[in-house]
Point group: C2
Chain length 201, copies 2
């Protein structure tokens, strides 16, 4: 008996949970849901998450929790990936909100249009419009990672997991990372963590 995670590993938001589970050695059941086939819009799924989004965590008693970063905070509770210090914990949350507002809507959407839709002409303008915001987000990360090993404090936290998810595949959205040496070194540090599991091809 264990928690169930509904996810689609092509999605960075879902991969975050897979990555955390590996790092913490969390027992769990993974149920693959196909976003592209519309499975998240069906009534059986909407009954679990009215917002129709992945990933979704289901506890043994049937209670469900949505939003990738909230799931990370739930599963990571009392682990070393959540700082004990009040200010550092708030900084960790700040990076997670930054990820959902200033990073994912540019980098994940550009990647989706390019990698999963094949960059059709009808979405070209939207793809192009995502580049500036994506680079703005990467520059904010670089500002920190040029002078620190991790996004918060001096050890990896949930913030690093949240931002690793789409940053390490940003090239699939057209973002060349060469101008961001701090980010590149940080990606390597995350990939060297014990228990790290890569996003499946």
């Amino acid at each position: 008996v264990t928690v169930t995670i509904y996810g689609d590993l092509r999605s960075g938001n879902c991969y975050k949970i897979h990555l955390l589970a590996g790092l913490l050695g969390l027992e769990h059941r993974w149920v693959a849901v196909d976003i592209l086939a519309g499975e998240t819009r069906r009534e059986a799924f909407l009954a679990k998450n009215r917002n129709g989004k992945l990933p979704l965590l289901e506890l043994e008693d049937g209670r469900c929790l949505a939003e990738s970063n909230a799931i990370l905070n739930y599963l990571g509770e009392a682990s070393p990936l959540i700082p004990g210090d009040r200010f550092l914990r708030a900084e960790m949350l700040a990076w997670q909100f930054f990820e959902q507002y200033s990073h994912e809507p540019y980098i994940a959407v550009a990647r989706f249009i390019n990698k999963f839709l094949g960059l059709p002409e009808t979405r070209r303008a939207e793809f192009d419009s995502k580049q500036e915001g994506g680079h703005r987000a990467l520059a904010v990360m670089e500002h920190r990672l040029a002078r620190a090993s991790w996004l918060v404090g001096e050890a990896p936290t949930l913030a690093d997991i949240s931002l690793y998810a789409y940053t390490h595949v940003a090239h699939e959205g057209g973002f060349v990372l060469d101008p961001y040496p701090g980010i590149l070194a940080w990606l390597g540090r995350i990939e060297a963590l014990p228990g790290f599991s890569p996003m499946p091809e």
Copy 2:
């Protein structure tokens, strides 16, 4: 000596902090920053928040914290507005991430274009494109609030503060709330809380 909050009260994200401070009776210094005049893009501000966004919390020792919902979590620590229960606390965060990803980008942006830019023809298509997503977010809230008094558990939490901010001015973005009686009743419950302070006109 107290914390400083940099904000622009026309912004719902900034108003969240004002609302929390009133509900908890938090001593603070409020520094008005004019977003529309470009003050958040100046170097003096960028040195405090590289992402150039409001609100921003500055502690007495000069450390700064960005992201409205992270600031709420920091200032609300150990208050009744953050549930003690692990699952309810995660649900609260889920609603806050929902707010930043599925609610604010539609409702706040439509409101900005309409109320602060005067709905110019050049932004009309963008304004129109925000309506569907905004109503989708309101429907998710209504699904909960038709059967519960508060977004999480049985008492007000930071989730209610986060979502009140732009929901109560959604009409300024063209969203008529009449089809959402659960939301309308909930707005009234928030406005009846001791220490409630309205968004200034």
